[in-house]
């Protein structure tokens, strides 16, 4: 068994290459206008997308990749002139397996391929080490979903994200657990990734500050399927709330196993668990579970309904981050258009100045590259569906930032029937 992990890496590399090959082939179909009717030649601009495309989070990775793909296909279909030449964007999709080591390898690969910008990675654990490689190569990166605060605290000019970070999210969750769910005895489990651990720590701080007692802190990993041992040990400490910092694949099974072990505690989690996949895996045990997610509920997003329709028609149900990946891509491309250049050095100032209306809400960055005033929404599972409970922030939150005069993203007029979220 000592040999296996080494071969796992080889497998990962092989896969990454195979997948990247697929990624290269995929985009051409939507560009039938490549007949070259006019002399101005097409310039191909490569945009990288990195997410785990194999392993337990592959459904989320594919979700991100498809969000980016949809944006690129739309822009290509419209046709875009940058610097006097017709530009065709090409998606280079890489698989980082949610593994920090693989994350840096594929990041280097994208740098070598001379991408103009990167949408990724999905996980904080892969985004942070990869960001150094992009920074050193002068490439701009927008992560649609990495929420660990460290990512933008490294002082890298070209590192951005389009959702609220875990300091905000952990605090929202901790406050909610204590004040609204009435939790007094809290047990915390995390998956030891940068995301899970970071969010759990922030949650712990906020919950303790609110007056709750931490009765147990247990750990698992992002590939585990059996949580009975740690749940049993938690059961012995009689908590009234269990918080999990980690992703949906584990959270779903964990909730189901809590039920079979008769652990009588509410379950609370962050954005990693707030997916339709979670409900599928947890089954009937999902009822009553609360989770947060940066952003607004899909049907309240300014362009949420239209995006949901377009996306589901092409790729099936949205997991979590597809709209964020879509927004991140269009934000990147808009900055290129404004700067009239696809050179990261030239369009970076434009990107930092971004102020646009995305499908997830208004997008503007602060000095670190974090989303200004990112809202966070809490959801509860009822009858096999995530139902929004309340949205925190958006315009009121983010005390550090200047009091932004932007309107709240939810345009009441543009929010039609709540039937937007399928599945």
């Amino acid at each position: 068994m000592h040999r296996r992990p080494a071969f796992g890496v080889v497998l990962g590399l092989t896969l990454a290459f195979l997948l990247s090959a697929c990624g290269k082939e995929a985009p051409p179909p939507p560009a039938p206008k490549a007949e070259a009717p006019k002399p101005p030649p097409e310039v191909v601009v490569k945009i990288g997308s990195v997410a785990p495309l194999t392993g337990p989070q592959s459904h989320l990775g594919k979700d991100n990749e498809n969000g980016t793909r949809l944006a690129i296909e739309e822009v290509n279909a419209k046709g875009l002139m940058i610097g006097g030449a017709k530009v065709r964007f090409e998606l280079l999709s890489e698989d980082d397996q949610a593994d920090p080591k693989t994350g840096t390898i594929v990041a280097q690969k994208l740098v070598d391929a001379k991408v103009a910008g990167v949408i990724g990675h999905l996980n904080s654990g892969t985004t942070i080490p990869a960001s150094k490689i992009y920074h050193d190569a002068g490439i701009v990166q927008i992560s649609p979903s990495a929420t660990n605060p460290k990512y933008t605290e490294q002082g890298y000019q070209g590192a951005f994200r389009v959702m609220a970070n875990d300091v905000q999210q952990g605090k929202t969750l901790g406050d909610y657990a204590v004040s609204k769910m009435g939790a007094k005895r809290i047990a915390i489990i995390d998956d030891r990734t940068a995301y899970g651990q970071g969010l759990a720590d922030e949650f712990e701080k906020a919950a303790k500050a609110g007056g709750a007692t931490l009765v147990g802190r247990e750990y698992t990993n992002d590939k585990a399927t059996d949580f009975r041992a740690i749940l049993t040990s938690i059961k012995g400490k009689k908590p009234d709330l269990v918080f999990y910092g980690g992703m949906d694949a584990q959270a779903g099974l964990m909730v189901a196993q809590m039920k079979t072990l008769a652990v009588k505690a509410r379950f609370l989690a962050g954005d990693g668990a707030q997916s339709p996949e979670f409900i599928k895996l947890a089954g009937p045990a999902a009822d009553g579970v609360v989770a947060s997610s940066p952003g607004l509920p899909l049907d309240k997003m300014p362009g949420g309904k239209g995006f949901t329709d377009k996306f589901t028609a092409k790729f099936g149900p949205i997991q979590i981050y597809a709209p964020f990946a879509y927004d991140a891509t269009l934000t990147l491309i808009e900055a290129m258009t404004k700067a009239n250049s696809t050179d990261p050095g030239k369009y970076l100032p434009e990107l930092a100045r971004t102020s646009r209306q995305g499908v997830t809400g208004p997008i503007a960055f602060d000095a670190k590259g974090d989303l200004k005033n990112g809202p966070i929404t809490l959801y509860v599972v009822k009858e096999g569906k995530w139902n929004p409970l309340e949205t925190v922030g958006g315009d009121a939150a983010a005390p550090a930032a200047a009091p932004a005069p932007e309107k709240p993203a939810a345009k009441p007029a543009a929010a039609p029937a709540p039937a937007a979220e399928k599945k």
Binding site: D226, T232, S233, A256, T260, G283
Partner: protein, 309 residues
């Protein structure tokens, strides 16, 4: 106390699951001295095929009791796995039988990767939820909970081990297997058709893999294309711990590994005053493995020459 009993039960069931898979590893190793890394993937294929059949049956709306549907799924998965096992041996291992060990090992890993990717293409990358078809009525036992399915898994692992022991030690085919294991050339000269014996070993092992796959998916309620990877790794560890090639050893190793993991995860934090957390459970499991291998290099029940199943 009830928490301790619950941890023991958790460990026992987890161990039985490892044992179900470890039996397949150990059987092939016993005959060929080959670590069949693709075994975990055969387990996965078994689970996925059964799941597809079960989904069709459930969707068709035929009113059958849950266990019958599960059994039908299993009946469909077994032949598929048997053919697959036969094909793997025929295509990937037989041509390399006289090649250096390392060559066969690499092929085994290659087959494993191939099967994972084929499964990913067929069934997609997402987790599939496996319907709860088998009864899981909880029972109270010394303050802890154990359900029907958990009891059944433990009994099934014991039954399969007993069946294999009988096959290997009391039947004509078993004698041929043992002869092949001792020395393939001499066995061949003595009139044993070693190709057939080895093929049958793979076919039986793969049928058991299908059983293991269905039980594991039913227990956890999920199936996905890479479920065989970790499972294979843990089962392989269990087989080595018990003495690879020894059937009773696979069972013992599986249960031991399961209980160590479970107690480790449950008590490390309390024992070390929070210095080590429950994520160190694997460290303890592998520490035990290292200790056992240092003191008894062939595993707990392993005997090098005399009896490789």
């Amino acid at each position: 106390m009830d928490i301790f009993v619950q941890q023991l039960i958790n460990g026992l069931v987890l161990g039985a699951i490892y044992a179900l898979v470890a039996l397949g590893y150990t059987m092939v190793y016993g005959i060929l001295g080959l670590i069949n890394f693709a075994h975990g993937e055969v387990v996965m294929i078994g689970a996925m095929v059964a799941l597809s059949v079960i989904q069709v049956l459930v969707a068709s709306g035929i009113a059958l009791p849950g266990p019958v549907i599960a059994a039908l799924g299993l009946l469909a998965a077994m032949p598929v796995c048997m053919v697959l096992g036969f094909a793997i041996e025929r295509v990937a291992y037989r041509p390399l039988r006289n090649a250096p060990r390392l060559a066969a090992l690499i092929t085994a890993i290659g087959v494993s990767i191939l099967l994972q990717n084929v499964a990913m293409i067929i069934w997609g990358r997402q987790y599939h939820s496996f319907p709860a078809l088998l009864p899981s009525t909880p029972h109270q036992l010394a303050g802890a909970t154990i359900n029907d399915l958990q009891i059944f898994i433990v009994l099934l692992a014991i039954a399969i081990m007993a069946g294999l022991l009988y096959l290997v030690h009391r039947t004509r085919l078993g004698r041929a297997m043992r002869a092949t294991s001792e020395n393939p050339e001499i066995a061949g000269l003595m009139g044993v058709d070693i190709n057939t014996v080895i093929s049958i070993t793979f076919v039986i092992g793969s049928a058991l893999a299908a059983v293991a796959g269905v039980m594991i998916s039913a227990y956890y309620g999920i199936a996905h294309y890479f479920m065989g990877f970790m499972l294979g790794l843990k089962a392989f560890t269990a087989a080595v711990l018990g003495g690879i090639g020894n059937l009773a050893g696979a069972m013992l190793g599986g249960v031991l590994l399961g209980v160590i993991e479970s107690l480790g995860a449950g008590y490390i934090g309390a024992l070390t005053g929070g210095f080590l957390g429950s994520h160190y459970q694997d460290v303890f499991a592998f520490l035990v493995l290292i200790l056992v291998l240092t003191l008894r290099p062939s595993g707990l029940l392993g005997e090098r020459v005399a009896e490789r199943s």
